[in-house]
């Protein structure tokens, strides 16, 4: 990959707003993910980080602003362009989202069989290669239900890698895994990063894993970006929400009467505006 490529934004998000029905989840956020960079999107539950990921991969539609992935504006893509773009993205879902009726090998082979004219023998080799890359060599004939949680995640990564994507997305890669298996997944991400210089976007709330794998990170809170920068920059940030998140301070009980009043009436204003 050339030097010029390294600074080209793979994903650029400008003033992105996303609504679920009447409720706005993301309130106009902007950032860029550069080529072969690992960007970690941090945030608590309900912060909107998963919505952001779903928007980046085209599962949610922006209600305002602009998202460009590989230079393409997601809002104006035709069906055929979407299909091309999707082949350049690999996504590892939180629960793996492997197809239960198919073996691990068939899961990995599915995008290849559907989108490429490859011979069956070549596909067999690709399956073995991809599974080997995620440390699941020899598991192609197992059903997803026969795998442990960590293995499912690895198999999902293998499937995401099948089409040799330019961007790899991870939704909560270490959620629901014990620390050892989670560390294994972190290592896998680091390995992919080093070996393929892939652009990687990881959504997580796991601090240790975030600081280990990130080149840069974004902290999202209540649908807004509160901080963006390298792990060191975030670590040094004096922003109260960043400190609270990084230092694991629980949400304070409502102390001020005014705040309490505001909390109670907040919904009313929102509804009146809508």
């Amino acid at each position: 990959m050339s030097e010029a490529n390294a600074t080209r934004p793979m994903i650029s998000v400008r003033d992105l707003r996303v609504n679920y029905g009447e409720r706005e989840i993301l309130h106009g956020i902007s950032f860029e993910v550069l080529a072969s960079e690992t960007m970690v999107i941090l945030g608590g539950s309900g912060s909107g980080k998963s919505t952001l990921l779903r928007t980046l991969v085209g599962l949610e539609k922006p209600s305002g602003g602009e998202v460009r992935v590989c230079g393409k504006n997601l809002s104006t893509l035709s069906e055929a362009e979407w299909e091309d773009l999707r082949k350049k993205m690999g996504i590892s879902f939180q629960g793996g989202a492997l197809f239960g009726a198919m073996t691990v090998g068939e899961n990995v082979a599915l995008p290849l069989r559907e989108h490429t004219p490859l011979e069956e023998s070549t596909i067999e080799i690709m399956i073995r290669l991809k599974l080997e890359q995620v440390g699941l060599a020899g598991f192609e004939d197992y059903l997803p239900s026969e795998l442990s949680g960590g293995m499912k995640k690895r198999a999902a990564v293998a499937r995401a890698l099948a089409m040799d994507p330019e961007i790899l997305f991870f939704d909560e890669p270490s959620a629901g895994l014990d620390p050892i298996i989670a560390a294994g997944i972190d290592n896998l991400i680091l390995k992919l990063k080093k070996a393929f210089r892939m652009t990687i976007v990881v959504v997580t709330h796991e601090l240790s894993s975030a600081f280990l794998i990130a080149d840069r990170m974004i902290l999202i809170d209540k649908g807004n970006i509160v901080a963006i920068g390298t792990p060191a920059e975030l670590q040094a940030s004096p922003h109260p929400r960043v400190r609270q998140f990084l230092d694991r301070v629980p949400e304070p009980e409502v102390s001020e009467e005014l705040d309490y009043l505001q909390m109670l009436t907040e919904g009313l204003h929102g509804r009146r505006n809508a």
């Binding site: 779903r54 991969v57 085209g58 599962l59 979407w82 299909e83 999707r86 082949k87 993205m89 996504i91 879902f93 939180q94 629960g95 989202a97 492997l98 197809f99 239960g100 599915l110 995008p111 559907e114 989108h115 089409m163």
Partner: protein
Amino acid sequence: MAVTETIGHATLDGLAYVGGLARLAGRAAHSVCIAPFRGKHLRVQRAVHQAMAVGVEALPIISLITFFVGTILALQSAYELRQFGALQYVASAVAISMTRELGPLMTAIVVIGRSGSAFAAEIGTMKVSEEIDALETMALDPVRFLVAPKFLAMILMMPCLTTWADFMGVLGGSVFGVSNAGFTFGSYIRATLDALLLRDITTGLIKSVMFGLVITAVGCQEGFLTGAGSEEVGRSTTSAVVKSIFLVIMVDLIFTALFYFTAPAS
């Protein structure tokens, strides 16, 4: 005021739902009829697999149910016919009501219970476990991938099952015919064949295809409408069954009326 508003809303919602079904069926039809010519192969193997599950595996239970329904029909019509000393019409009564109405309907009810609910559960579970999202992000259209084979299987298997159901119903009727109405098995079958017009059978089969479309569309749509959480899968399965039964009866009414008013008066 409020009452008319509620009725209006319910009507609009109902129409929107049926519109959704039509859209789903349309997209599936596109996948089956047009997409294969644009280099997107149809999942024939999945369709065959579905046809096995929808059709072949339903044969025993459909045979049993329609056999009994045939006997029940014979008993019920004999109850009325014997007052006129017209027991010999049992065969034609059974034949016509089986082929025109109860064959397709009973088949539809069994298929709703077996397959309509299974479609909703399958797609609903895939929705909950993000498998539908995974399909979409792999540039695989869930409709082409999941729904089209189901439609194809259903359109093929419903008429087959219905034909078989008609036959089993006649057999069921013959039990009464032979034991109580003075028929021999051969004469019962002959009386049946004499009573039936080709039209009776084709109208039944046309209905069965329509039922198949309704059942598949509702089952799949309910699956796709499944919210987050596994309890939602149960809800959509129930909803698929209830809505399918209702819509099948509606479609039945419409087509029966249509066939009645377009039939040449004899």
